[in-house]
Structures are given as structure tokens and as C-alpha cells.
Subunit: 192 residues, 4 copies
DNA sequence: AATGAATGAGGCTTCATTCAT
DNA sequence: TATGAATGAAGCCTCATTCAT
């Protein structure tokens, strides 16, 4: 294996152990030494690859978000309408529940620059939704509303549920518990 | 009596300097020594009055929330309809913007027990909204919806705006910037 | 009730709550605020009466030791021989087990001056033993030994059992568990 | 290899400065910052190597006890009888007088789990004594006694002397002052 | 490129004692 | 005489980051 490959492998190990610990304990509460430990590398190596803990978080998030984003966009092509799109979206959130929960909880405490980067990555998903919304509006299947506001209500409420999951669902899976309600209420609020 | 007053005064100084620093820096990032310093007391005095940093936060929150809650409930009596109630609510949030922002941001990271206490205090406000919603539904001025879900969308979205204020409004006042939009979208979504 | 009586009453309340807490938690681990709290007096009052925590300990010990010492000396008059005397002694220790345990554990960490005071009070008990030992030696019921050394073995071993009670008896009562063994071994070692 | 050596060196510096301070001031009264200072390392380094103050104490004790234990066991092989064994033992105690004094004084105040560990390490020494005692009993050179009790009297009394050394010997060396007396009394008490 | 020992500032909390009332 | 609020030094421990190897 070449030097470059070796390096990449180390990088990936750190990234994935960071991902695990961020999910398990949250970004603020987990520490870099444990991340390196679980990655099987030296503590210092982590900083060699990522410079700071924050940068590690960003790259961790970036990768995952882009991945989720892509898978979601891909799945969204099959969505015939808003409802199936919402369903697909919640399904993906449910699959990455711990990760999405962490982001919902900790993003507001991160530096704004980082928040912006996260939002930028997510804008693709928003665009997909946007399109479906407009399409349904044109078809007359939903009311004419400001699509941006509609999405803020959707993402906002979902975020709220994720961030405060402990209150809404205890240890349960908030998507399983409340996903259908969220979808049906949201759809209903857009009906004519 | 003077002794008691003196103590109460100290308590209030700590409470209000904590309140300021929590708002300025957030609960997690500010430290107890600075709070005591700004309050003009010894560091130890803070723990004499509040025991732990967390308890200080709770009492800080409790007082404010109860106050806001009361003022809001009082104002809500004059509300003839949902819209004026939402307006009153946002007005109060706007008055305590930094504080509400801090809560929106940091609550998900606090111990669940503390989260519950906060929710318990806020339940009074929710009840007021609940009543107005049901009243309007009976009157036929809004559609028949699950009022609990409606409120979750309202509070959820608002929370989302507050927590991620930096993205939505930069340094501006998110209530001034987006308050009307939020209200009108929410009302609209409830229209028949 | 006169001023003086009132003062004495306060003093006694502090003394007895200190006694309780010293037994329950040990001198080093318990704190003066709790003592005052349990005594139902102000924290400052404690220092008015005793000056320092250490002085409080001393007066607390002094009173009890003198009391125990007296009762013991009194009981010792009825002792016909060494064995009954040892038995009486262990009985008294057993009655004040927590207190004696605390002294055994914490005395070596106290200022030497305080240690000396404690020893001085206890010297009366030692003298009683001394007498019985010599008497039995004269009678020929036990061997001729250095009575001072014999007593050191007795008190030393007993102290060792008390101080390390957790290891020897867990939560049980070390006197009940091992008292008879101690006596019989000690007696046996003095037989001709 | 140099890295490992360097680390070991630091570890040893901390260990030995801790050892010194524990002896000089006692475990409870000395503080970790001073230990690090004397070791010439940063305060945090201490916790890197030992985790907690208590663990530092344990490792400090463990090392010494095992060392003393080994040297003692080794020397015990040459002991032809109980007396020479006691002499060897006291000699070793005398060499580590401050350390043994600290243990005698502070062990009863340590967490029971730690006490047990200490006892476990010491059990080897006790076993050596046990053997000699039984051997002498078989040979008829000493009386038939419960060897466990005999050892408790020996170790108990010795502990008592060590813990309360200040009273028995002032600043002098208690082993030099009283060692012979202890041995001869103990031996005598086992004679037929 | 990787290591991992070392750093040291920073954080929360405790508590015997004082002193103004 | 009694109060009890206030003090502030002291204590243990954490952790992102650096740098010599």
C-alpha cells in the first residue's frame, strides 16, 4: 500500500471513530483523545489530519451530509409527490437518527461559519423539496404558499423534534413515534 | 430585616449577572468565576446561594420564564383571536430575545431533568394557546386540526428560528425580520 | 432561663451534634456548617463557643472520654480479676463503638498536642488496668511481665481492630465478632 | 526506546516526589500541585500518568510494599526462628519508617477498596510469619496458639506504635527506641 | 507521516473562619 | 450572645493542542 493510501486509511479511521463518538456523546462532550483511541491512532495524528477538533467535526459532517444529501436526492427522483418525498426524507433521517440529532442539538452552538457550511450542503435537499412543492402548487394539489416558509416550518419543526427528542420520545425513536403525524399534519396544512 | 434584604440583594446581583453572561456567552461557555466577578461578590458566594452552576441556570431561567409566562398570560386575556395572541407572544419573545435564544440553543444539551422543568414552566403558555386554538376552531374561523400538533409546529419553527438566528437574521432581530411572516404563514395554514 | 443557662444549652447542643457527626462521618470529612445545622444554631455560633473545629473536637472528645473513663473506673471496682476487667472494658467500647472507632482512626492525624490531651484523659483507664495486672502478678495468677508492655499490646491490638474494622468485620460489630477471641488470647498469653 | 524511557523517567519523578510528600505531610494533607511541582512536571502530567490522586497513592504504596515484601521474604529465608524473623521485619520497617508510619496513620481513612489492596499485597509477609510460627509450634519452641491471633497482636501493636509514634517516641525512631522491647515481649508471650 | 508525552490554563466546588448586624 | 452572609484560598481534575522524536 502506498504512502498516500496509508494516509487516507488513517484519515478514514479517525473520521469514522469521530463520527461514532459525536453521535454517542455529542460534539461538545466527547474528547479528541477518545476519538484517536477508538481510531487506533496516536492522539497527535488526529491534529495532523484535521488541525482542530472543530475542523474534524466539519469534515465529518460534510462527508456524511453530502452522502445523505446525495442518497436523498437520488431517492427523491422517484418521489411522485410531496408526501412520498417527505416519507423518503424521514426514512433517511431515521436511518441516521443519532447523527441528525447531534446536528440539531449542537449546530446552534458552533461558529457561524461552520453553521453556514452545513446549511450550504443541505441546500441541495431543500432545493429538491422546493421543486416538489412548486410542482404540486402548479398542479393545484396544494395551496399556493410561500414555499420557503413552508419548508422552514417543515425543517424547523422536525429539528425541534430531533433536538428535544428526549422530551418527546424518551429513549424511543422519534421518527417512528411521530413521523406519520408530522407528515400528515404538514400535508394537511397545505391542502386547499 | 436588613440582613435578609442584603442577602436578597446579593442573590439578585448574582442572578442578574448570570443572566447577562448566559445571554452574552451562553451557559456552557461562560464560567462561574466571571459571573461572581461581575456580580461583585466572591466566587464562593455564588455557590452559597445556588449550589451549582446548573442550579443557578435553573433559577435564572425559572424566574424569567415565570415572569414572561405571567406577563404573557395576562396579555393573552386581551387577545381576541389567535393572531393577536401570536403577536403578543412574539412581542414578548422579542423583548427577551437573547434569553430566549440562549434557551433555544442550549436546552437540548442540558440534563433532561432540567429540560423537563423548563417545559413544565412553559406549559402554562402552551395552555393559553391551546384554548385560543380550540375557541377559534369552535367558532369556525380556523380549520379543525390537532391543536397539539399545530402548537408543535408553531413552537418548533419559532425555536428553530431562534436557535439558528445567526443564519436567518445575522445580527438583526429575528422577530422583527421574520415575525410577521411566521405569523401570517401559520395563520394561513390554519385557514379553511 | 438565665443567660448563662441559655448559653450552656446552646453549647451542649453543638457538642452533641458534633459528636454525632464525628461518629457518622469522621472528623476530617464532616464540616462545621452541618454540625451547626444539626444543632439548630447559626454556623457562627459554633465558633463563638469553640473557636476552631479542632477545639470543638477536643472538647467533644474530652467530655466523652472523661465520662467513659469514669464509668469504666467505677465499673472496674467490681472487677475481681483481669478477665472481668477486660470484659467490662470491651463492653464499654462496644457501647461507644462509633466514637471509639473514630478516635482510633483519626487520632494519629491530629496535632500532637491534641493527641497528648487524649492520652492524658485515658491514662486513668490505663492505671486501673495496671493495678489489676500487678495484683494478678502478685497473686501468681499470671506471669511476671512488664505491665506497660502488656497494656500496649492490649490497647494496640484493640486499636488496630477498631481502626481497621472495615477489613475485619465489614459492617458488623467488631467487639461482638472478635471481642472474646481478643480477651482469651490476651489472657492466655499471660498465663504461666 | 528513548520515548518510553523518558516517560518512565517522568513517571518515576512523580512517583518519588509523591512518595516524599506523602511521607512528609501525609496523603490527605499534601496536594497534587505540589507533587507535580517537586517532580518538575506540569500539574496535568501527574493525572496523565496516574489518573487520580488516590491512584497515585496506590501505585506509590504498591511499588514500595511489593519491594519491601520481596526483600523481606528474601531475608526471611535466612531466618532460623521467629525472633530473627521479627528482627528482620523491624529492620525493614525501620528503613522505611516514614512510609510505614504514613500507611499506619492514613490507611483507615482510605476507601475500603484501597485498604483491601494494601492488605492483599501485605498478605505475603503475613504468610511468611505464619509459617515460622507453625514451624516453631511444631518444634515445641513456642506454645500452641492461634497463629492468626498471634499475628494480629504483633501487627496490631506495631501498627499502634507506628501510628502514634509521636506519642511514643517524639521525633525519635520508634523502632530503635522500642523495637527490642516489642520483640522480646512478643516472644516471651509465646514461650511455654 | 506518525507518535504520544507533556503542557498549563481553565473549570467547578468546598469549607473553616470572620464580622457586621 | 447569637446570627448567617460573605469570604477566598485551596483542591482535584480535564483537555485541545504542541513538539521533540
Amino acid at each position: 500500500m502506498s504512502r498516500k493510501e496509508q494516509k487516507e486509511k488513517t484519515r478514514r479511521r479517525i473520521l469514522s471513530s469521530a463520527f461514532e463518538l459525536f453521535k454517542e456523546q455529542g460534539y461538545l462532550k466527547c474528547n479528541t483523545a477518545d476519538i484517536a483511541l477508538r481510531a487506533g491512532t496516536a492522539h497527535g495524528t488526529l491534529f495532523l489530519h484535521f488541525g482542530t477538533k472543530e475542523q474534524l467535526l466539519f469534515e465529518c459532517i460534510e462527508e456524511r451530509l453530502i452522502d445523505i444529501s446525495n442518497r436523498l436526492s437520488h431517492a427523491a427522483r422517484d418521489a411522485e409527490n410531496l408526501e412520498s418525498m417527505l416519507r423518503i426524507y424521514l426514512h433517511h433521517i431515521g436511518n441516521e437518527l443519532e447523527f441528525e440529532t447531534m446536528i440539531a442539538r449542537e449546530m446552534p452552538l458552533l461558529p457561524v461559519s461552520l453553521q453556514r457550511k452545513i446549511m450550504a450542503i443541505r441546500s441541495g435537499i431543500a432545493a429538491d423539496f422546493y421543486q416538489v412543492l412548486e410542482w404540486e402548487m402548479e398542479n393545484g394539489t396544494i395551496r399556493h404558499v410561500d414555499p420557503a416558509m413552508a419548508l422552514n416550518f417543515w425543517f424547523g419543526t422536525l429539528n425541534y423534534y430531533l433536538a428535544n427528542q428526549a422530551l418527546f420520545a424518551g429513549d424511543g425513536n422519534i421518527i417512528e413515534t411521530s413521523g406519520n403525524q408530522l407528515i400528515s399534519y404538514f400535508i394537511q396544512s397545505l391542502r386547499r
